[in-house]
C-alpha cells in the first residue's frame, strides 16, 4: 500500500490525465513569461495603478471637502449677494508665473513684485465676494482660498501623472508617483485640516513665532504702528534696552512683510541696532520632538526667500549679528490648529529671548525681535 502511494507521488498524476493538464498549464505559463517578458511588469503595474486610484479618490474627496468648506465660509462670513461658487472655482485655478531666472540679477525684487500683485488681486477678489467681512477676516478667507487652490493643484498634478502613466503603461512614471504618494497624502491631509483653522480663524502651528513675540510685548507696549503692509512694530523697554518687535498684523491670517519691516527699522535706527533675533516654526525631522526650541544663527524665515534676503542683506551691510530661535513642528502641525505642546513653547521662547537680550545687547542699545509666521487667531 505504502509502496504504491510513493510510486504515484514519484510518477505524478499521469495515470489520471490530470497530471498532463497541469503540466501543460505550467508549460504555457513558462512560455508566456519567456516570450512576453514584460508580463510580470504589467501585472505589477496593474497593482500599482489600483493603489494609486484609491489614493487619487482620497485626494479628490479632500479637495472637494476643502472647496465646499471655502464656499460655505464665504457665504457665512461674507454674505455675498449672489452664489459665489463660480467665482471661487475661478479663483481655485488662479496662478502666478515666477520671474525669468536666466539673468538672475534683481530676481528677488521681481519675485516680490509678482507675489505682491498676486496677493493684492486675490484679496481684492475675495473682498468683492465677501462684502460683509471685516478687513482682517478677508485676509483669513484669502488663506482659506489659498488652501483650496493648493489642494486642487495637488490633485490635478497627481491625476495628470496617474493618467499619463496609465495611458503609456509606463511603470517607471507610476513607480515614482507611488513613492511620492505617502508625503503627498500627508500634505493633503494637513491642508484638509488647515481649512478648518482658516474657516474659523484659529491659530495654527506656524503662528508660534508671532505668538511668542505677542507674549513678549503684551502689557509693555510703549508704541504700536504699522511699518510695512500687514506688519506691525511694538516698541518695548526691557532692562534699559529698547526692543522693537516686528510681527504680522493679527488676528487676520497673514505673514506680513517682516523683511521689509526690519529693513525700514534699521534704516531709521541706524547704528543703534545691535542684534536681530528671528523666531519661527521649523520643520522637524522624524524622531524629533514637537515643540522643542532650538537656537542658532542666521535668519529663521521660510517661504519664497524675499524677507530672508532683505534681512541678510542689511544685516551684512551694517554688521549686525543675526540670532535665531526655531520651534520644531511637523508639516501637519504647522498648518493645522495649534497643539498644546507648541503653544506652551512660546513661554520658554520668551524667557530665552530675554536672556539673549541681556547677554548680547548692551544697555542703552536697540534690538529687533521678529516673530515670523501666520498671525491667524493672534491679536
Amino acid at each position: 500500500m505504502m509502496e504504491d502511494f510513493f510510486l504515484n507521488q514519484l510518477g505524478g498524476l499521469e495515470d489520471t490525465g490530470l497530471g498532463t493538464l497541469v503540466w501543460l498549464i505550467w508549460l504555457g505559463f513558462m512560455m508566456l513569461f519567456l516570450f512576453y517578458p514584460t508580463m510580470s511588469q504589467r501585472i505589477q503595474l496593474g497593482y500599482m495603478l489600483r493603489d494609486l486610484e484609491k489614493k487619487l479618490v482620497r485626494l479628490k474627496l479632500a479637495k472637494d471637502e476643502v472647496r465646499d468648506r471655502a464656499i460655505d465660509t464665504i457665504k457665512r462670513v461674507g454674505k455675498p449677494e449672489k452664489d459665489p461658487t463660480q467665482d471661487i472655482d475661478k479663483l481655485m485655478e488662479f496662478f502666478m508665473i515666477s520671474p525669468e531666472s536666466m539673468d538672475p540679477y534683481g530676481i528677488v525684487y521681481k519675485l516680490e513684485h509678482i507675489l505682491e500683485i498676486g496677493e493684492s488681486k486675490f484679496e481684492e477678489e475675495i473682498k468683492k465676494l465677501s462684502p460683509a467681512a471685516e478687513e482682517y477676516k478677508v485676509k483669513t478667507l484669502a488663506n482659506l482660498l489659498e488652501v483650496a487652490r493648493t489642494t486642487n493643484y495637488l490633485y490635478r498634478v497627481v491625476r495628470h501623472y496617474y493618467l499619463l502613466g496609465k495611458k503609456t503603461a509606463n511603470i517607471y512614471l507610476i513607480l515614482q508617483l507611488q513613492m511620492l504618494m505617502p508625503q503627498l497624502m500627508e500634505i493633503t491631509e494637513a491642508l484638509r485640516l488647515a481649512s478648518y483653522a482658516f474657516a474659523y480663524g484659529q491659530p495654527i502651528g506656524d503662528g508660534i513665532g508671532v505668538l511668542a513675540v505677542a507674549k513678549l510685548a503684551y502689557g509693555k507696549e510703549k508704541a504700536r504702528y504699522e511699518i510695512a503692509r500687514d506688519t506691525t512694530v511694538s516698541e518695548i523697554d526691557f532692562e534699559n534696552r529698547r526692543v522693537l518687535i516686528v510681527r504680522a498684523t493679527g488676528p487676520g491670517g497673514t505673514v506680513g512683510r517682516p523683511g521689509e519691516g526690519v529693513k525700514k527699522l534699521i534704516e531709521r535706527e541706524g547704528d543703534n541696532v545691535k542684534l536681530i533675533i528671528t523666531i519661527d516654526a521649523g520643520l522637524r525631522l522624524e524622531g524629533d520632538e514637537s515643540g522643542k526650541m532650538v537656537e542658532g544663527v542666521g535668519v529663521a524665515i521660510g517661504g519664497p526667500g524675499i524677507d530672508k534676503y532683505k534681512i541678510e542683506e542689511i544685516a551684512r551691510e551694517r554688521q549686525i549679528p543675526l540670532y535665531a530661535f526655531v520651534i520644531y513642528e511637523s508639516i501637519v502641525e504647522a498648518i493645522t490648529p495649534m497643539k498644546e505642546v507648541i503653544a506652551k513653547a512660546a513661554d520658554s521662547v520668551v524667557e530665552k529671548v530675554k536672556s539673549v537680550l541681556l547677554e548680547k545687547v548692551p544697555a542703552g542699545s536697540t534690538a529687533i525681535v521678529a516673530g515670523i509666521g501666520n498671525s491667524v487667531g493672534i491679536g
Binding site: E53, K54, L56, V57, R58, L61, A62, M185, E189, R192, L193, Y196, Y200, G201, Q202, P203, L211, A214, Y218, G250, P251, P337, M338, K339, E340, V341, I342, A343, G377, I378, G379
Partner: protein
Amino acid sequence: MEGFQPSKMLQKYMSPITFLTCTSCGTENSRAFKEDDYVFKRTNEVCPKCGKNELLIVGIYVKEKEKKT
C-alpha cells in the same frame, strides 16, 4: 473609483479650546473655541469667581490627551 468609502479619510479634526484669564482676579478658565475668538482679545464674559465681565483670551490650542502610563 466611485466605490471608495469617504469614511477612510485619515485624521479627525480636533477643535481647539479657548483659555481665558479674568483681568480683575486672575482666575483661569477655559471653554470650547467660539468663532471670532483670538489670543489677547478682551471679551465681556463674566468671571465665574469674582463676577467681573472682562476676561482676556490668553491661549487657543488643541489640548492633547494625557498619555496612559
